[in-house]
Symmetry: C2
């Protein structure tokens, strides 16, 4: 075992766009697990939009980071030392941990073992983890399920959450339209995921114009990952009693001047419901979801794409790229050797 390890710390609060300067790399002594604890060698780190919120000093579900803190994040790794009765050396496990090579954990960090035989272990950070469950909660458990023939729109549709949300909606027989930020993602949505329509929002003057073209019968259900202008355009095109699952508003997280929404009066006129949710309120649904999703992945009826960056030192850049939509599929960072696939 090495005597030191690398960590990524939160160096300073961003104003507007996050930059590389908001992070710092440092060497720290190798931690040792105490009584009842274990040491995880982190193999994959997940970078997610919610982390941007933790960098703000404002009211939110996630406690804000303080400058100097090691960045928090979900990981999948291998147990390399254990004083914990439920984990043995060699086990693979998921945990809420930190941006670092090795983490000491107590086992209470939403931790669970993962089975390398079921799927690549990194998938536990995506389709078989919190982003996948997020899609299920918003599209099915909390606000849905969508009904056959309903007009569904999903923004950031090829992302970690969007690609699962769109496929769940298709399974329920809805007409599903997705937006994304590149032609390659649009092709993926229509050709691989079988969406009824998809568009590259960058090729349109406005979301309004794009939605007029691709959702000519209005919108019955919107799975919102981006907020801002897209949300405003959906409000203006929502059908009576439409539901808006408010999963995230990534277009707004790096703005100093948020977009001003002007179509909220449609909430009353069209009797709309907007509901915000976060996945950690619904982790009791995870076992049932994982059982279904593992089967669908195995039989090929659900497709999953992830985007892997390499090296802990590149985690800040991968995080920034994800916030800018430059990733293609769920963004993870490989920070250690993966021997799980044998």
């Amino acid at each position: 075992m090495p005597e030191t390890q690398t960590q990524v710390t939160f160096a300073s609060r961003p104003t507007g766009w996050v930059t590389a300067d908001n992070f710092a790399l440092r060497q720290a002594p190798m931690p040792e697990p105490g009584a009842g604890e274990l040491l995880l060698r982190n193999i994959y780190l997940s970078v997610d939009p919610y982390m941007r919120g933790m960098m703000e000093d404002r009211r939110s579900y996630a406690a804000p980071l303080e400058p100097g803190d090691v960045m928090a994040g979900r990981v999948v790794g291998e147990v390399v030392a254990s004083n914990h009765p439920d984990y043995a050396v060699g086990d693979h496990a998921f945990a809420m941990a930190r941006w670092e090579e090795y983490s000491v954990l107590t086992g209470s960090e939403d931790m669970r073992k993962v089975d390398p035989a079921l799927a690549p272990i990194s998938w536990n950070l995506g389709v078989l983890g919190a982003p996948g469950l997020t899609a299920y909660v918003g599209m099915v458990a909390l606000m849905g399920p969508p009904e056959p023939g309903q007009q569904i729109f999903v923004s950031a549709a090829s992302g970690a959450v969007g690609q699962v949300a769109t496929q769940l909606a298709k399974r329920h027989g809805a007409r599903v339209v997705g937006s994304a930020g590149s032609d390659a993602k649009v092709d993926f949505l229509t050709d691989r995921l079988g969406l009824d329509a998809a568009f590259n929002y960058k090729r349109y003057d406005s979301y309004a114009a794009a939605l007029d073209e691709h959702c000519p019968d209005g919108i019955d259900f919107y799975f919102d990952n981006v907020g801002g202008e897209a949300l405003d355009a959906v409000l203006a095109r929502a059908n009576p009693f439409a539901r808006l699952a408010e999963c995230g508003m990534i277009s707004q997280y790096n703005l100093t001047e948020p977009y001003g929404l002007t179509n909220l009066t449609q909430v009353n006129r069209m009797r709309l419901t907007l509901r915000g949710f976060i996945v950690r309120d619904h982790f009791e649904l995870l076992p049932g979801y994982l059982k279904d999703m593992a089967r669908w992945l195995k039989d090929g009826s659900v497709v999953y794409v992830e985007d892997r960056a390499e090296g802990l030192e590149n985690a800040p850049a991968a995080f920034l790229a994800m916030l800018k939509g430059e990733n293609f599929g769920k963004q993870v960072v490989q920070i250690g050797a993966d021997t799980s696939a044998g």
Copy 2:
């Protein structure tokens, strides 16, 4: 019976604020009821915020008026001729009718008889009618009920809907705060209705400042009658899982440039639910509501205030004054002699 009657027509679509020029008075032949129809002498006319929406040519629950149409509106009147099996001359009745002295009705216009012995017949346009039921739907049936100790905020709290909504919330044991546009209304809210706090928003630089003072523990439930800046300020102060009953957004109806809401990201962060509703989706709740409310009015535990204008020719002015918040309580227009009180 006179040979002609006065009607108020919709003369032109407003851009921005409604003005007197958007209406016209005209004389029309006295209508005669056909087979199965009746003739109602309209005594009280209700002017309501939803009518502003009908003057717009946009997607809404209410079909837009076309220039030249007689203005639509709820009335209470006296049957003066009847070919309808359920209505006799001398009956008092409520109906969805028009801004005119006499209306021919088929009986299918949400029509019901009203009992002059129960309460002043005009109250059927307010606390014993659609505005009262609106308050009940938003505060209790659809989004509630509020829980004891919860922090509740109601905007336009002394208005037709607001005064009922606040009193329903108080009955459920909540801490209730109301906003209004004059000191006299604020006194009414605290002294007559027993609200825990109330404020005149015109005396504050912003709703944000007013809410910081009067809702120091945040907001668990917002009954929204105004939208715009007040809604944005509530979003920033909403507690986790807060519910926002979106009843109306009167601050926005006469603007050519709507207020741009910038705090919608709180919907996700705080897991908020915004739900728009309109009363006509819930008329099946009216009989039960009326039974309870008539009892509460009789025992004095609910207070009701209305503001009466006189004369059909003054209906446009009363409508404009209501949109500007110059009314004190539910705005009605008396357009004929009321002999119901004996």
